[in-house]
């Protein structure tokens, strides 16, 4: 056989192996036990506590990320200043940090014996073991996903449009809120969806920095690990819910991408 005929075969084999390898574990989650067992395990109040806590903390984290991250991304996308590339790298660093490193870093920064622990305690703020610590951990690991996406969406805007807004007398704030944000809306939505997916999946940093207690700090990911040793059906049931969330978020990212490409 010639290389010309081998190559398509090799490509087909590579696609087959890749797809099978990536899909198999997900399929296994759904077929390991009967659907009735999975649904039954979700009726467990502690499972619902975990999912509810995950949704609440992820929503709070996303709110903070959008509120602070979007203007930061705007500055990084449109201004040139000394040290800009250092700031960009710093903002992206949590993206590639192992979660255990993130958890430890948060603990030695905001923990009782941490870098700013005394200051926080003076202000009456204790983070570890509280729900607020979960939110802090989620913001730390998920923010770069939104900021990166928002930054590239803002950078892709036509400078002439922004310039026109300013020459027509709009203030910089008005240009940002009324022109830039709506024009970049699809990109921003994709950033939010990616950050939300990362926040819902967070495990290591939460366990190390916030702890694990039902209804307070035990999010769905932590509850899966907690059940692993004693209640495999319960762990699988929560896992399938997280898979469904993740799939829905991917659809959002995809639709946002298609709308952006069309406009």
């Amino acid at each position: 056989m010639t290389a010309r005929r081998l190559f398509p075969l090799a490509l087909a084999a590579a696609v087959g192996v890749t797809v099978a390898f990536l899909a198999l574990p997900i399929v296994a989650l759904f077929v390991h036990t009967s659907p009735a067992h999975l649904v039954g395990a979700l009726g467990d109040p502690s499972a619902r506590d975990a999912l509810w806590l995950s949704l609440q903390t992820a929503a709070a984290a996303i709110l903070l990320i959008v509120l602070f991250g979007t203007p930061a991304a705007w500055v990084l996308a449109t201004r040139r200043f000394r040290g800009r590339s250092a700031v960009v790298s710093l903002v992206e660093l949590p993206l590639v940090l192992p979660p255990a490193v993130a958890g430890l870093a948060l603990l030695v920064a905001f923990g009782p014996q941490g870098l700013v622990g005394d200051g926080l305690r003076g202000a009456g703020i204790v983070l570890p073991l509280h729900t607020a610590a979960v939110v802090v951990a989620l913001v730390f690991v998920a923010a770069p996903f939104h900021i990166r996406q928002a930054q590239s969406s803002f950078a892709a805007l036509d400078p002439a449009v922004l310039e026109a807004s300013r020459t027509l007398g709009a203030s910089p704030a008005r240009t940002f809120l009324r022109i830039a944000v709506p024009l970049a809306a699809e990109g921003l939505a994709a950033g939010v969806a990616l950050a939300l997916a990362r926040a819902l999946g967070e495990f290591g940093a939460t366990l190390m920095f916030a702890g694990s207690l039902r209804g307070v700090t035990r999010t769905a990911s932590l509850a899966i690990y907690d059940r692993f040793g004693s209640d495999l059906d319960g762990a699988l049931a929560l896992s399938t819910v997280l898979v469904a969330f993740a799939a829905a978020l991917l659809v959002v990212v995809r639709l946002a991408g298609e709308r952006r490409a069309a406009s």
Partner: protein
């Protein structure tokens, strides 16, 4: 392509280890220090160590991962595996003692009663499914209901294994935690032991069992029972198994 033979040789060397059988030993988190020190000197085998909460390790064994020997922080978990015909009946190889641990510097807590009396104490415990958490609940179950409720209310995190509790203690995230005496010894001075009243203390017995029939599991179990690992366990503060 000319480099392939060298690569294959390298891989074989990595797998072969001079012909000694490789034994995968899954062990309770609390055994980390002691077994890391002795495992490489078990004669006739090459041990690969994996540490974790005993309950999570048992769950992995149920899923059929290739563990050869399971050393758990209880007899209950390996006995359950034996009842399911997934392992041989376990043998006790060490004992430990559940204690209350506090940071050695500046902690006002001196006894179990201080956990109840103090206003704002935070406590770390093991999750109920991991042995250290199950022993902790046995202690609390022997207390009067009112005191038990107060202490359970002060438990602010239920960790998946004992290392998580020690971590929370040593970073000051909690004021006190229920751990094993050997964990406090291993923390080299950072933690202080508060001995629990003898009437409350549960029997903490570690059990070891062969999960596979691989040649070499016997050497590992022998070492834990009476060889180099038994000595390493005594040095780390573990007690001799009950007769």
């Amino acid at each position: 392509m000319r480099r392939a033979p060298a690569l294959v040789a390298l891989l074989l060397a990595g797998c072969g280890g001079g012909g000694k059988p490789a034994i995968r030993l899954a062990a309770a988190s609390s055994l980390t220090g002691a077994l890391s020190a002795c495992a490489s000197s078990i004669p006739g085998v090459r041990t690969q160590l994996e540490f974790g909460g005993s309950d999570a390790l048992a769950a992995q064994i149920r899923q059929g991962i290739g563990v050869d020997v399971f050393a758990a922080a209880s007899m209950k978990l390996p006995e359950a595996l034996a009842a399911e015909h997934r392992a041989r009946p376990p043998t006790p190889f060490a004992t430990n003692e559940l204690v209350l641990a506090v940071p050695s510097a500046g902690s006002p807590i001196r006894s179990l009663s201080d956990l109840v009396a103090a206003r704002t104490v935070t406590v770390a415990a093991g999750s109920p499914s991991v042995p250290v958490g199950s022993y902790t609940r046995q202690v609390l179950d022997r207390l009067p209901a009112a005191r038990r409720r107060v202490i359970l209310g002060r438990v602010r995190t239920e960790e998946p294994d004992v290392k998580g509790i020690v971590g929370k203690l040593s970073t000051g995230a909690v004021d006190a935690g229920f751990v094993y005496r050997t964990d406090v010894l291993a923390a080299s001075g950072a933690l202080r032991v508060i001995t629990l009243p003898a009437a409350l203390r549960p029997a903490v017995v570690y059990g070891v069992t062969a999960v596979s029939s691989t040649a070499g599991t016997r050497q590992v179990i022998d070492s834990l029972l009476r060889g180099g690992c038994a000595r390493a366990l005594r040095t780390a503060g573990f007690g001799a198994p009950p007769r």
